[in-house]
């Protein structure tokens, strides 16, 4: 349903004293999502994951330049098509309640989503009430303002905004940080439900354990590029292909709890060769010359010349 190939996003910024510089935030991003599938996009903070969501919705800032291709349901996703589809066929679940208008009741905001999807206001209001009930929100919730919601309630309201649409693609942007573990599980289950309804769900997160709870496939992000697309069970069966993914897995507290030294390269100074090269144990001279292509290895995709089939 969704195919992204070689996506690149670059920004030009004004530095001090009107100096201009270029930031390459996403390079060679590849991703596919099928209906009924939940794909997790996992990466460290600053790896450009949220920008992927913004690109799909056509809400990137003005100084952003896109390259590569995005196709949704067989047709290319141009800016115009993004504007036509967003909120209707493609929906976003934002990170926090800060993305809601602070001066408007949540009921009216969610109702607005319905109206943007063509419902008359009465029908939208009813649908809002029904959606809130589905997520077991108390009856007075529609009259509440965003600042009055608790963490769990806020999460459910945000999910409601996506459920109000008939979107075939739902993008959940970092839904779990700062939440109680029970609320995290509840939120993830809601996303799983959406996938089971037949929608495609992209879960953007840095929490790999959370991702593995509900994801079918996991796309691993590093420095703005996909380094591996694995199936969820590859993690537990040890079938990981890319050195970064393996290091990421090892660094978890319940595994070896071993960190990797070094940092992600800065977006304004990307290396010529493999982006993981300077931190990689397998790195050779060949790695530093050119960026590897995405290869199909062991039922998954990996961007490494040393990964074995």
């Amino acid at each position: 349903m969704l195919t992204i190939s070689n996506l690149g996003i670059r920004f030009t910024q004004y530095d001090q004293g009107l100096h201009r510089k270029q930031l390459t935030v996403i390079t060679d991003l590849d991703l596919t999502v099928q209906p009924g599938e939940l794909v997790a996009v996992v990466g460290a903070s600053g790896s450009g994951k949220s920008l992927l969501a913004h690109a799909l919705l056509g809400i990137l800032p003005e100084n952003a330049q896109l390259s590569g291709t995005m196709a949704f349901q067989g047709e290319p996703l141009t800016q115009k098509r993004c504007e036509a589809l967003r909120g209707k066929a493609i929906a976003l679940i934002p990170q926090s309640v800060g993305y809601l208008d602070p001066l408007m009741t949540v009921g009216r905001q969610v109702q607005r989503v319905g109206q943007l999807n063509g419902l008359p206001s009465r029908a939208a209001k009813t649908l809002t009430a029904r959606t809130f009930a589905r997520y077991e929100l108390p009856a007075h919730t529609p009259k509440r303002y965003p600042f009055q919601l608790s963490g769990g309630m806020a999460r459910r309201v945000l999910v409601s905004t996506a459920v109000m649409t008939q979107a075939q693609l739902v993008i959940a942007d970092e839904p779990t940080p700062g939440l109680h573990p029970d609320v995290v599980t509840e939120t993830l289950n809601h996303l799983r439900e959406l996938a089971q309804e037949g929608r495609g769900v992209i879960l953007i997160t840095h929490d790999i354990e959370a991702a593995l709870q509900v994801a079918d496939r996991v796309a691993v992000f590093y420095a703005g590029t996909t380094v591996e697309i694995a199936n969820a069970q590859d993690f537990t069966t040890g079938n990981l292909r890319h050195p970064y993914t393996q290091a990421l897995w090892r660094s978890l507290p319940q595994n070896d709890f071993v960190p990797v030294s070094g940092n992600q390269p800065s977006p304004d100074q990307l290396p010529v060769g493999c982006l993981y090269g300077d931190r990689c144990a397998w790195s050779t001279a060949e790695c530093k010359q050119a960026r590897p292509e995405l290869r199909f290895v062991r039922q998954g995709w990996v961007r490494c010349i040393h990964a074995e089939g």
Partner: protein
Amino acid sequence: MQLRPIVTFTAQKLLRLGLLLLAVAIFTFVLLSLSPIDPVQAYIGADMMRISPEQQQLIAERWGLDQPMAVRFWDWLGQLLQGNWGTSMVFNQPVGEVIAKRFWVSVQMLAIAWLLSGVLGLGLGILSGALAGSWIDRVIRLYAYTLASSPTFWAALLLLIVFSVSLRVTPICCAAPPGVLAGDVTIWQHLHHLLLPAITLSIIGIANITLHTRQKLIDVLHSDYILFARAQGEPLWGLIRHHGFRNLILPALTLQFASLSELFGGSVLVEQVFAYPGLGEATVQAALRSDIPLLVGIVFFSALFVYTGNTIADLAYPIVDPRIRLGGSQS
């Protein structure tokens, strides 16, 4: 409606007003005491010539002018609080009456200018901010930037030249046709004379409000909730209608009421150019002819005026912003 917060609010505001007026009183009094103006001469005026030095001494004693400053201040303050604001030397009437009459004349002009600058300023600001970068925005910005730092009195002069002298569509001065008795002035004549001064005053006000509103709207349009609304498919004018406007109201109202201060100052200049007999023109007269009671009265009045405006703006906050109104109440 709960009574207690309203009572507390009102009490606080009145207290602050009292303190403010006291500060203004002290400031004014000290200023005038230290000034080279002779208060006796100021209060007696042209009759100084006819009064013998002994009588001057008597007057000075009666007014307590030979007392230390602090004593004089409390005497003076006492007089003010009792409603005795003195007699205007220039108009030969009690200061209170002069201010009331003159303010009634000015307030019509101020009200029109205030409403016009508010409505047009908001409208142009929203238009300019929503279409930022387009040629409409550039035209509006050019107009606003030019006018915002234009000398008010020069803009008034220009308009007078164009409309009254060249085109002859508006009168060249005053609030009524010369030679017509006050009671005989028709409402059309009245409005005819009011028109150009009011428009002049509003033009400058519009410029400022437009620029500020534009910037606020641009800030709002860069916020997170607007980003999310866009992601939901909300078109530009939907964004402004459903989100932008509401988030703009508070800063706009604050600005609007703060502009009262500028408008008052502007009216001084506009009334001078158009020879319009309002409170602004009285201020100039008072200053030029050393009419201390009237000047002091106007100073207090203007402080009251500005303070009232700002307080009304403060009242708007809990009404518009639920976070202030509902405060700590959680679900």
